[in-house]
């Protein structure tokens, strides 16, 4: 496909008969031979291998780690200083108006911070970091692939190659050796399952992918199942469920803002949009991201408007929706006026001009299985 980047696993995807599609400027596999439904169910039952090399890996360093941590706190409402060595934490780049510029992972690797950001926003993120982190070196890592292995059989499959991963807990990060190749491993992911993300030199990525796929438990998974898995897990997709028009409190991501950065905390505020976000943390926001369970079998997809029964004034909208293969039913998430955001509230979604009942539901839609 013209004008699209390729990941180091591109040839492998093609050999595995993947259906390739354009995504965030890359040619990516949306599904392999067995299809989205099977890939989804296999990941929950066993293990799935995802190529997430399109995502951005960015190293942030300074004269001291603490200097880098404090500098980054000027861009995220996260207690970066509170991330212990060998751990990572979910974070958000906020805008001056309190919106979300991107969501990311922040790992403390002892000597530096490793950030993983979204593919579609990585250039903007690097520019944002470079412009605002005085005294820090911001280095996009362009010679490493990123693989995710997700599902209950992940530990056994990866520990067969790299024994040290078995000892890691959810959100631990570690530098480990595989046959002389340095792996940057975190026990995390985007499916609601136990699993790992592994950063590896681009030239060795195919060998690692093939070694994992040699395990009977592991099959390759495309972007289609990645989306249905994260939706069931209630996880946000940047650009769909969160963006510059949604605040962290509206997006039900207040848990990502630690006490140290809130009012009365040791390092209160000091991030873009703090005035609005700190106020919303205490007073609440006018709308809130919630789950919706539609009645019946018809999926309620992004863009559907939400109403109160018998009213023509919308009170919300769906930002992600589809069929949840593990639940055997449609699931959606979106925003609704806070007044109507209580679990169990019955509202209506408009699908193809018709109203159908939906019930506000807690997320994740199915319990996560992280190894804490």
């Amino acid at each position: 496909m013209p004008n699209l980047d390729r990941t180091p696993l591109h040839d492998l995807h093609c050999e595995l008969d993947a259906r390739m599609v354009p995504f965030a400027g890359y040619e990516m596999p949306v599904q392999y031979y067995d299809g989205v439904l099977w890939e989804h169910l296999h990941t929950r039952a066993s293990a799935g291998l995802f190529d997430v090399s399109h995502m951005g890996q960015v190293r942030v360093s300074a004269d001291s780690l603490e200097e880098a941590q404090l500098a980054l706190e000027a861009l995220v409402p996260v207690s970066v200083l509170g991330i212990p060595e060998g751990r990572q934490r979910y974070g958000l780049f906020t805008s001056e108006t309190g919106g979300i510029l991107d969501d990311l992972m922040i790992a403390n690797r002892g000597d530096d911070l490793l950030l993983v950001v979204n593919a579609a926003t990585k250039e903007r993120d690097v520019a944002h970091l470079s412009a605002n982190l005085a005294g820090c070196a911001v280095t996009p890592i362009i010679d490493r692939a990123l693989l995710a292995l997700q599902g209950p059989a992940s530990e056994a499959a990866l520990a067969g190659l790299v024994p040290g991963v078995a000892e890691m807990r959810f959100m631990d990060t570690s530098v480990l050796d595989w046959n002389g190749v340095e792996l940057w491993v975190s026990r995390s992911g985007y499916t609601g399952e136990d699993g790992y993300e592994v950063s590896i030199s681009s030239s060795k990525a195919r060998a690692l992918a093939e070694a994992l796929l040699a395990s009977e438990a592991v099959i390759p998974i495309g972007l289609g199942a990645r989306d249905s898995l994260r939706l069931e897990a209630g996880l946000c997709l940047y650009g769909s469920d969160i963006d510059t028009t949604t605040t962290p409190v509206e997006a039900a991501l207040a848990w990502a803002i630690q006490k140290a950065r809130r009012r009365g905390g040791e390092r209160e505020g000091g991030f873009p949009g703090a005035a609005r976000i700190l106020e919303e943390l205490e007073a609440g926001a006018p709308r809130r991201r919630v789950g919706f369970l539609p009645d019946g079998r018809a999926p309620v997809r992004a863009g559907a408007r939400i109403f109160r029964e018998g009213s023509d004034a919308p009170v919300g909208d769906v930002t992600s929706g589809g069929f949840g293969p593990s639940l055997g039913r449609p699931v959606s998430m979106g925003y609704v006026e806070t007044e109507f955001s209580g679990t169990g509230t019955v509202l209506e979604a408009e699908v193809r001009g018709k109203r159908m009942p939906v019930t506000v539901a807690d997320m994740p839609f199915r319990p996560s299985t992280f190894k804490r």
């Binding site: 299809g35 989205v36 289609g224 079998r297 999926p299 997809r301 589809g322 069929f323 293969p325 449609p330």
Partner: protein, 119 residues
């Protein structure tokens, strides 16, 4: 069997025509999770969207290939939408239509012509 450019197949059965989608179309759609059918008795014109197919990926519309009346719909698809993937040319027919003008059926492709189109 006759074929449309929209990847539908038509099987003439007396004065009725049975409408479904081809294996190629079913494969492109991916796993089908929901099918919305019209009501029997609906009068439709060629090109009207009469069926909605939701796969895990997206929603797609199926248009009426000819003018006529929908006389029967395949209710089995409501409970078992996966039939569209499992048996698109057989058990997963969508509707039976009574055709207003049988001459409308002359314009469609033969199997060989359809295979050339998707090749």
């Amino acid at each position: 069997m006759k074929y449309t450019e929209e990847h539908e197949w038509l099987r003439v059965d007396g004065d009725l025509v049975v409408v479904g989608i081809t294996e190629h179309a079913a494969e492109q759609l991916g796993d089908v999770v929901f099918v919305e059918l019209p009501e029997a008795g609906t009068q439709v014109s060629s090109g009207d969207d009469i069926v909605v197919i939701e796969s895990v990926k997206a929603a797609s519309d199926i248009a009426a290939p000819v003018d006529g009346e929908v006389v029967e719909v395949n209710d089995a698809l409501a409970d078992t939408p996966g039939l569209v993937n499992a048996d698109p040319l057989g058990a997963a027919w969508f509707v039976k239509m009574k055709v207003d003008d049988p001459n409308q059926l002359d314009g469609f492709m033969s199997e060989d012509e359809y295979k050339d189109m998707i090749a």
